[in-house]
């Protein structure tokens, strides 16, 4: 075999979209027409999916476990919320500022987080998020504390689409942002940078020996993950037009980790599908049984781990692999 015979398409397949991927992105369009009454739920699914994507970038692709990812979600939410409460209600500007604030916070905290092994990272991220939570609570005059940040006024999107109670604008806005951010993440994952992240995840010890600055790469992706989370937080703040302390809560971090593991980390569509499955299940169960829905959700999780690792999850993963196929260089 000589070098002219080798097929290089696996390396470039990423630039093309698999039909299954296109079909997947028709779902939000279909959802809009079929589930008009549940647009708020769909909007929040899109936002959580973006948040989950951000965790996937750092956990799934770079292998950094975090139990404090809400830190950046919260920073983004408060940044966007405070902008809107002080007269800068343009949604896109809010997103931008929120993303930048969260990114900066991500960069700074990456210096702490990158030390130590998994459990240490888990706890350091957790500690950072808990301290931010306490800080937001302490700063009640600015953040509104437990009562929540009031007085947000979001201007219409592009100056013409107002955020109303039927949630159409909010829906397309959230889905649109998710899509754009997803496309960026997809390119990133299939780039040399993304490849080096996979390398770090699979064998962190080898990377310096091929000349890769591991900590710089991890800091970069952690910052990026923080930025994504910040944008997701801003989306939630803007579409809810309210920010409360729970954007920084431990439960949100833990739930997010759960969603990602459920969907399959290390695969972009895993983050999206996990979110859809989890939030839909949550919604239906809590509608059917407002008091004890947690039991059924818990049972579902246990059963999935015990019996359906290769069934349901495998299916999800296979579907994910289709999308990821492009990256399979």
């Amino acid at each position: 075999m000589n070098k002219s015979m080798i097929d290089l398409t696996p390396l470039t397949r990423a630039t093309r979209w698999h039909p299954a991927e296109l079909a997947f992105w028709l779902l939000p369009v279909a959802g809009y027409f079929l589930l008009q009454d549940n647009l708020v739920l769909l909007t929040q699914i899109a936002i959580t999916a973006l948040f989950c994507l951000s965790l996937d970038l750092i956990l799934g692709f770079a292998g950094i476990v975090s139990l404090g990812h809400t830190a950046f979600f919260g920073i983004g939410a408060y940044a966007a919320g405070l902008m809107a409460a002080h007269g800068h209600g343009d949604p896109l500007l809010g997103l931008l500022v929120a993303g930048i604030c969260a990114g900066i916070a991500g960069f700074i905290s990456s210096l702490l987080v990158l030390r130590g092994a998994d459990l240490t990272r888990l706890m350091v991220t957790l500690g950072v998020a808990m301290m931010l939570y306490e800080l937001a609570n302490k700063l009640t005059p600015i953040t509104g504390g437990v009562d929540g940040l009031q007085g947000m006024e979001i201007q219409p999107l592009f100056g013409s689409f107002a955020f109303d109670m039927f949630g159409k604008t909010a829906y397309w806005y959230a889905v649109g942002v998710l899509f754009v951010m997803f496309v960026i993440a997809r390119r990133l994952v299939h780039s040399p940078f993304g490849l080096s992240l996979k390398g770090i995840r699979q064998n962190v010890g080898r990377m310096p020996a091929i000349g890769a600055p591991v900590n710089a790469r991890l800091a970069a992706v952690y910052t990026l993950g923080a930025l994504y989370a910040g944008i997701a937080g801003a989306l939630l703040a803007q579409t809810t037009q309210f920010v409360a302390l729970d954007v920084l809560s431990f439960n949100r971090s833990a739930e997010l980790l759960l969603i990602l593991v459920l969907g399959g980390s290390g695969c972009l569509y895993g983050a999206l599908i996990g979110t859809i499955v989890f939030m839909t299940a949550h919604h239906f169960l809590s509608d059917m049984n407002p008091e004890y829905w947690q039991f059924w959700l818990g049972l579902l999780l246990v059963l999935i781990v015990l019996f359906a690792r290769d069934g349901v999850m495998g299916g999800v993963r296979r579907l994910g692999a289709l999308g990821k196929g492009g990256a399979k260089a």
Binding site: D164, F242, S286, E291, Y292
Partner: protein, 391 residues
């Protein structure tokens, strides 16, 4: 749970069939509840739902000739975006006529703009931050406000030889609000604040703060922490350190000696003096009837102020609809509700026409053992007390 709900749905349907003769029974009246049914505040949702359903049951699920349908959505307590989602779905999908419930302030704040936009009445049955009713002209509150239940204990203390008070509040919005109100009223009445501390919201151990109190030796401690394990921990620690024997009293708002919690606090709660708008030991025929009916319907639980908030919420809706002849449209409903007054299990109450907030008697009570039960026994009162937070 689901089963009883289905049964009551069936019952509603039967009742509706039986009432076909009524001209006004055109459409069923749908009331959508947004409540914390799971999570750390599940007790709130349970009590409010109990109260509301009790009222309906007493009136055969019929208000002003319209049969009533209740939809309950769980907002988990602490996630305002879920509250908002629930309310939005109730409005858009289920087309409810009235929004109700709201266990916590952030939920009410998050939903307020929706009530304004949809022009639907929103009956707040618990959330107690003073500003809640200012967030939409369609909000009416049937519970209480924090300043409203805080101020009377301050005046009472100043009048009853408590000169030096140490305030201990949890470091969060409601804590700050009650601290501010207490200080304002108490110092205006000539009292002195000899120490103040704000404790972390998640705080399993009060030892260091109790030690501080012991060092300062005030006449009384004014306490406000999130009702629940913190109250218990504080009171147990207080007893352990013999602070009561050192002549230090605890004064607080009544949510800390809430009937739901009293049994868990146990005898350590004895002697605590609080101000509040409802105790299940309140003596009146209305309350007797209420507590009897409650005990019959929910033998495992004790009625508390939240259940009364839910009960009175439904009572307000009923009386208002009778006035509007079944018309639940936002503006008409709110106009009719303003100034409404009735005899609640807690005593006479009315809706302030200006603020749409509740005006009620605030009682001063002391935790006492009555028979085998701990009770908040009322011994003083401030009648027709308005929310001082909005003055």
């Amino acid at each position: 749970m689901t089963q009883t709900r289905r049964l009551s749905g069936l019952f509603v349907a039967l009742a509706a069939a039986g009432m076909a003769f009524s001209a006004l029974a055109a459409d069923p009246l749908k009331i959508g509840f947004v409540l914390p049914m799971s999570g750390p505040f599940a007790a709130y949702g349970k009590q409010i739902e109990h109260g509301a359903r009790l009222y309906l049951k007493e009136h055969n699920d019929t208000i002003a000739g319209r049969k009533v349908e209740i939809l309950v959505k769980d907002d988990t307590g602490v996630a305002p975006e879920i509250s908002k989602r629930a309310a939005q779905e109730l409005l858009v999908k289920d087309k409810v006529d009235i929004l109700a419930g709201f266990g916590l302030t952030p939920s009410a704040f998050a939903v307020a703009p929706l009530a304004t936009e949809a022009k639907k009445p929103m009956v707040v049955m618990n959330a107690a931050t003073s500003a809640v009713t200012t967030k939409s002209n369609f909000i009416i509150r049937t519970s209480h406000t924090l300043p409203q239940v805080t101020a009377p204990i301050a005046s009472w203390a100043a009048k009853n030889k408590i000169k030096k008070v140490f305030t201990l509040v949890a470091d969060y919005g409601p804590g700050h609000d009650s601290e501010a109100q207490f200080k304002k009223t108490f110092t205006a009445a000539g009292g002195e604040i000899v120490g103040e501390v704000r404790t972390p919201v998640k705080n399993p151990d009060f030892a260091p703060f109790l030690q501080k109190i012991k060092d300062v030796k005030p006449d009384a401690v004014f306490l406000f922490v999130p009702p629940g394990e913190q109250t218990i921990a504080f009171m147990k620690g207080f007893a352990e350190r013999d602070l009561a024997k050192a002549g230090i009293r605890i004064i607080a708002t009544g949510d800390l000696t809430d009937e739901d919690l009293l049994d868990a606090v146990g005898d350590n709660a004895l002697g605590i003096t609080t101000s509040f708008h409802y105790a299940d030991a309140h003596k009146s025929p209305e309350n007797q009837a209420y507590t009897d009916a409650y005990a019959k319907a929910y033998p495992k639980d004790r009625p508390n102020f939240m259940s009364v908030g839910g009960y009175d919420g439904m009572q307000l809706i009923a009386k208002t609809l009778e006035k509007t002849k079944g018309d639940a449209s936002g503006e008409k409903f709110i106009e009719a509700a303003k100034g409404m007054s009735w005899n609640s299990p807690r005593g006479p109450v009315s809706i302030d026409p200006v603020t749409r907030d509740i005006v009620q008697t605030i009682y001063i009570r002391k935790v006492t053992r009555v028979g085998s039960k701990l009770q908040n026994v009322e011994f003083d009162q401030v009648p027709a007390f308005k929310d001082p937070g909005k003055q």
